[in-house]
Structures are given as C-alpha cells and as structure tokens.
C-alpha cells in the first residue's frame, strides 16, 4: 500500500489478464479534483469508485475493500473526450486498406459503428495521454456534403469494444471545393425535402409502393429524419462566418440542432452563436488562414467565444494525436481562455453537446469512473498521466511506442 507503483503493477496485471473480472473498488485519496461541474476544483479530496461507478466524493472517505491510490499533490480529471475523431477507423492515413473512415456507397446514413478497431495502436497511445472516450465519425461519404454518422467508443481496448452510444450525430462539410456553396445549400434543401417525403411515403412503401429516393439510399433518408425527429445534432464542418449564419437559418427552418466544427471564423459571430445556443468544436492552435474561407482565423478565437457565452469543445483533427487537444486547450488559455472553461471544453462540454453527460464527462457521483490522474497541470505540455481509469478499471499504461523506446534505449546504450 505504501508502494503505489507496486499496486499499479499488480492491478494492471489483473486487469489485463482478465478484462471481465469482477471490478475492484478503488479509492483515490487526497487528489486535487477538477470536477468539470459547478463544484469546480476540490482540494485534497477523495473519490471512491464502486463497480465502475463514482460512488462518493469528499474528505476522509474510507474503504476496507478498495485499492487505495495515494494521489496527494496530483490532479484528477474526468477522462478526456475526443470529439469528431477518426480514432479506431484509421491506422495509417496513406494506406487506404487501413482506413474505414470513408465510403463511396452511403452518405448521410453511413454509420461507422461496426468498423471500430479496438486493437488499433492509436488507442492505447491516446488513452495513456488521457483520452477515455472517442466520438468517432467518418471523414467522407458518397457525394460532397454528408460524411455520415458518428458513435461513441471507450478506449479500454477490449477486443469486443462496441459503441456505448450509436449513431448519435451526423457530420457534413461545406465549402472548400470547386462546387458553389450555394449548390450545397440547395442540395441540403433537396435532401431534407426528400427525407420528409420519404417519411410520408413509409406506409405506401411498406405496402409495396415505389418511392424514388433519388441519389440517396433509404438509409440516408432515415438518418436525415433522425436529425429532425430525434434532434440528433448535425455537425457542420465549415470555417466561413457567412456559411455559419446561413446554416443557422437553415437549421431553424428544418428544426434541427447544429454544431459547427472547424469554425475558424466563429468568433466573428460569437454573439449570435451564444444567442442561438450553438456549440463549436475548434482546434485553438489552428490559426492559419488556410483558405479564403478561413481568413478570420486567429489564436484567441476560443477566448472570444467563451467570453461571449458560446459553448466551446476542443478537438484535434489528427486521429493519431487526438490527445493534443490538451495542448490546444493550454494554448487557448495562454491566449485568454479561462482555465476551467478549457478543461470543460475537453470533457463535460463535449459530453453535454452530444447527450452523453448522464454517464461521462465529469467527476460526479453516479457517473462512469472514467478518470485520469495527472502528474501535473493537465493542460501543460510536460504533464503525463499517472493512471487512466475506465469504468473503474486501471488501464495498462503501455503503448507500442514505449516498447520501441525501451528496446532502443538499450540498443543505443542509454538504459
């Protein structure tokens, strides 16, 4: 009990040998707990995990059965969420056969939930860096507009990893290609119209009637109906302010929820976004005016947005380094964003916007015990995780990268 490393070692041994073994209780003692809730930061606080769930938070909690982790001087956060990532769908970008993030067959209804590779090397790598859940989306579907549907996966790496929430949101892109953006709006209109007609024709179709679904499959039209009927969010990848304004109007007409992704010029319409309660997913480090759609890109965008009351989610486009959202958040803070808001942008904001907040995204009683214990400020580039816990199980902290490191430290004579 005095030798924490020993305890970690034993627990890791147990959990990796039998991932489905009875979950042991864990008591984290004296951590600085960044809750991601209205409770803010709790100093010298204990967190008790029972059966994979956070069961109590407070001072001087005791437990006979629990493994005890002495976290004095260290910081505990909720496990980080990667919003809009290809984690589990891509191993190597330039090797097409290692990619499951694209299709030529489906568009709006392209669900990737069956393609998640829990044995991907990207998963332990990002997990040890703090990512415990990934909201996994396809990159592109048939056509230029809709990419498809995203699902949520935990990063424990169990061989039979299934999505914990399936087809929760749709992603689409706008701008940046040679077709007019006006044409994209027209296509959106047509697609929504078609899906509404499809809804009216369901009975007729069941009776064997013919419905011309045009270029969309019935699966695609069902997915679009899901946006309107179930208010699943539509993630709109765009950077230009005018696109966002037009899209806000479109969303009102069709009664759908939208989230902007990329959104380099979102700061220009921050008040409007706040008024309409529309969240944005941004990479605070990407301040490059990389196209004429993103001329307004700036380093303090996240700060301007949060100051205006917009819900900001921080995510990195690169699946391999999804965890660099932490560095993104740190840079946002360096450029004016409130530090606590930045932590929320990596955790609870993501969970709330995607409707996952009942189970993940913050340190609250009753939530899944997805937690990260850090050896320092979680937004600092020199900080590492000491322990990553998913569903109350302490995860292995090994990665292929660390194995290679250790092998070559020996080869080079530095061990």
């Amino acid at each position: 009990m005095k030798l924490m490393k020993l305890i970690f070692f034993v627990v890791i041994g147990i959990s990796s040998l039998s991932a489905f073994a009875e979950k042991q209780d864990i008591l984290i003692k004296n951590a600085t707990v960044i809750t991601s809730t209205d409770q803010g930061v709790l100093d010298e606080t204990d967190v008790l995990i029972k059966k994979g769930i956070i069961s109590s938070i407070g001072k001087d909690i005791n437990s006979e059965e629990a493994i005890i982790i002495n976290a004095k001087g260290r910081i505990l956060t909720a496990g980080l969420l990667a919003p809009v990532t290809n984690l589990g769908l891509i191993e190597i970008e330039l090797e097409a056969e290692t990619r499951d993030d694209r299709t030529d067959h489906f568009s709006a209804g392209f669900s990737i939930s069956s393609a998640f590779n829990s044995s991907s090397t990207l998963i332990p790598y990002n997990r040890t860096a703090g990512i415990t859940s990934a909201i996994v989306f396809p990159s592109s579907g048939r056509g230029k507009v809709f990419s498809g549907l995203g699902s949520v996966f935990k990063t424990h790496g169990n061989i039979d990893t299934q999505s914990i929430f399936t087809d929760i949101a749709m992603v689409m892109q706008m701008g940046g290609n040679t077709d007019s953006r006006a044409s994209i709006f027209l296509e959106l209109e047509d697609a929504f119209l078609k899906s509404k007609q499809f809804k009216k024709s369901r009975n007729m179709i069941q009776r064997g009637g013919f419905f011309d679904s045009g270029e969309y499959s019935e699966r695609d039209l069902e997915a679009l109906l899901g946006l309107m009927e179930k208010r699943k969010p539509l993630i709109v990848k765009t950077n230009r302010a005018s696109d966002m304004l037009r899209m806000i109007e479109f969303a009102k007409v069709h009664e759908i929820n939208i989230i902007f992704h990329g959104a380099k010029e979102a700061w220009r319409i921050a008040d409007r976004l706040a008024e309409e309660n529309i969240a944005v997913i941004i990479d605070p480090m990407d301040n490059i005016p990389s196209s004429f759609d993103s001329i307004g890109a700036r380093i303090d965008g996240a700060s301007i947005l949060t100051e205006s009351g917009v819900t900001v989610l921080i995510g990195i486009a690169d699946a391999h380094n999804s965890f660099l959202s932490r560095q993104g958040a740190g840079n946002a803070v360096a450029n004016g964003m409130d530090q606590y808001e930045a932590i929320k942008a990596l955790t609870i904001n993501i969970a709330q916007v995607f409707g996952l907040a009942d189970s993940i995204g913050s340190i609250e009683i009753g939530k899944n015990a997805d937690l990260v214990l850090w050896d320092g400020d979680p937004l600092e580039v020199s900080t590492f995780s000491d322990a990553v816990i998913i569903d109350g199980i302490i995860m292995s902290n090994m990665t292929r990268s660390k194995r290679l490191r250790d092998r070559y430290l020996r080869v080079i004579g530095l061990d």
């Binding site: 191993e91 190597i92 970008e93 330039l94 090797e95 090397t121 990207l122 480090m285 990407d286 301040n287 490059i288 005016p289 990389s290 196209s291 004429f292 993103s294 001329i295 307004g296 700036r298 380093i299 391999h320 380094n321 660099l324 560095q327 740190g330 840079n331 803070v333 360096a334 450029n335 937004l379 600092e380 580039v381 020199s382 900080t383 590492f384 990268s401 660390k402 290679l404 490191r405 070559y408 430290l409 080869v411 080079i412 004579g413 530095l414």
Partner: protein, 471 residues
Amino acid sequence: MILNPKYSSLVIALVLILFGTISAQSKINEKVLINYAYESTYKPEESSKIIITNANILTGNGDSILDASILMHKNKIVAVGKDLDQSDATVIDAEGKWVTPGIIDIHSHMGVYPAPSLRSNSDGNEATSPTTPHVWAEHSVWTQDPQYTLALKGGITSFHVLVGSANLIGGRGVTLKNVRSRTVQGMKFPNAPYSLKMACGENPKRVYGGRDSEPSTRMGNVAGYRKAWIEAQEYQRSWLEYANTPDEDIEVSDIPSRDIGLETMVGVLEGDILVQMHCYRGEEMAVMLDVAKEFDYKITTFHHAIEAYKVADILAQNSVCAAMWADWWGFKHEAFDMVWENTAIVDQAENKTGCAIVHSDSAVGIQRLNQEAAKALAAGQKAGLDLNRERAIQWITSNPAKALGIDDQVGSIEPGKMADVVIWSDDPFSVYSRAERVFIDGHLKFNIDDPDSFQRTDFDIGIIDPEGDRL
C-alpha cells in the same frame, strides 16, 4: 563586391580562369556564374543601444545565466553578464523573465507553401522529374505570406525554406530572416550557405511510381541518387580538366556548358552547399550515409527523422544532425514507429555528442517550436535521461544554426552574434508561455503589448475588413 567565402571555391576558381585567360569568353556573365547575383540585400538599419536587464538567460550554448543583462548595439550582441554598463542604452527590464536566442526552424515551407493554400501559390515541389537540383526554393518564395507574422509571434527569427520532398533531389533551400521585405533577397540571411534538399523513402517513390516511372521502390530511389552523383562528379571533372588545360590549347568549343543543377550538386561535393535530407527510417539513413561515403559528400541533417532513435549512435558517430517532431506520427508507414523520446535519445547518444533539432514543417508548429521542444524534453526526462532546459533550448537555437552553417552568426546569446533575442512571458518550456518581445538584429520586431510593433504582410491588410487589418 563581396564574395561569400563559403561559396564554391571551384566555381570561383573557374571564373578566375575564364577571365584571366580567355579574352573571347570575357563576356561570360561573371555574376551569373558564381550566383552572387542572387545575394542577400538584407541590411538592417543600425540599431541603437538596448540593454535587457533582470533576465534569466538560456544562452543556447548549453548553459544559463540567471539575473543578468544583455547589451545589444549596432545589430549585435555586445555583452552578456552582470553589472554591464548601461550608459546611453534604452533599458528593457525583463523582470526576471526567461530570455532565449531567437528561435530557428530548420524546416519550413513558409513562402513556398503559403497561406491560403491556393493552387496558384503551391510552389514547393517541382514534381515533374525525380531529380531537380536546378530549382531554388527562393525563386518560389512569396514575400507576403501571412504565416511569417504568426511565426514571429512565436519567437521565430530565422528559418530555412526547403523545397518539398516529392523528388530524390529536390533543389536548393534558402535561409531567411523573419523580416518583412518586398523582395526575397531582402529576407535572405546574409552569407548563409545554401542547402540541397534530398528525400528518402515513400514520397519520391509514391509520386513517380504512381506515374509508372522510376523510382517506384526504395532501391529505385537509391539508384537515382547514385546516378545523379555520378553525373555531378563527371561535371566536376570536366570543369577541372578544362581548368587544367594550358591556355594555348583551349578552344571555345572546349568550354563545358553550364548546368545549373549540376552546379548545385558540385557545390555539395565541394562542401559549400549543405545536404538537408528528408528521411524517416533508420535503415534508410544508414544507406544514405553509404551513398554519401561513395561520393564523398556530407549529409548535414536528416529531417523528419522519426526513426533517428534507432540509429542515434550511428548519427552521432557521423556527426549528422536529426531534425524531428515531438509527436507527429502515423500518417504514413515510415512515420509509424514514432517515440516521444526520439529527440532526447538522439541528443544523448554516444556520450551526449548527438545533434538533435526540433523542427516544424508546419505553419502551426512553427508558432510554438518552444512547446514542441518542451514535449521532447519532458519525454526524455520522464525516460530518465539527463536533460535540462539549457540543453533542450539548443534543439531550436544553436543546433539548427549549426546545421544551417550560420552558427557563427546566430543561435546563441553571446557577444558578436546577431542580436536575435526573445523575451518570454513565462518559462519557454511551458504551454502558457508566449514570446513577449522579439528582437531581430537589435530591432524590436514584435511586442505583445503593442499591435503596431510588427509589420503586417500585404495579405493581412484590409482583407477581412477594409478599414482594419487581419490581425
């Protein structure tokens, strides 16, 4: 007329021969031949006396000097230490903040792949033939790339612009100072040697193999380099032969034709042009060292050296630097074996004689090269290696300066060097740290508190709002 002493002795010798002996050839354009027609025109105004006091200095030479001052005058660092004479100097109180040499990025495509990334400005890869030593990156540089300003705000004072990696032998790279000018010559780092960009691995074979042409394999790559060097050696020989021919035996038809590509390659063989080689995999680096041995040239740096840690001892033994990212990986198979400790292992190899460089290759990364170095430092320390800030700052200052052949002029804070200095708001190895003041040649080029302190590129003016500036 000032000749760059580093410039090819061979070519200069040829000029003397041509002019000294053959009157018929006196009309050969001397300026074209030795390329100083393309010389830097950057001449900073003489800077006034400025003293930065109460500074914690990471010198870039591997040590730190706490609570000291830096005196700058006439574009140079004049003195570093305690109790310096402040008379006539403008005093800038660093208030105990960290001060470093100006940050140097050895791998940039700013200007040749500017923002916005328009097809019309995509000028970094002459991907029409696998061997294009005749092209020069500087002839593609757009002087109004808004990325320069973003990099300046990250403390970048010099950067090396390379051609892309589509080709086995891609062309000449150029070192620029991060100063605004209407001309690329006005940005060129005075008297910096040129580089020759070469590329290993997947890129050339993908670009040309995809067109059913050579190279389509790694062995095709190596055959391609060797063929090109044989040609360069022959070219070198033909000029030497010509130079050694007695005057009376020379006929006009004996004068070899100029080949600007082979001139560049001969520049490498002569040791005047530095090879900067894109190479990810360990065994490919080792093969390239053999190619260099066969043709008796030197590889200065392997860039994007994801697997440098696998051959860190070999690199140190051969005095070759490795320029690396902190954590990019996986976008192609040769980038699959990334380790966070790469930079640290290269640094520590062979009794700490390795030459490690952190580079960006990215307009996002170049704005926070200090953070990239911080990640690499933290990973090395976590792995138990004997590293500190003093050593790690060299990865983005004196080591790239050395690998660019400009370490006699920049890369450290010491008397006689160009006054390229950054004052940081916080520990430069922290994510929260920002470059507060950036001096280039003794002039304050960026002050975080003064939006008028930096010169915007043309691109940034009136583009989002006709009344205002983009940033």
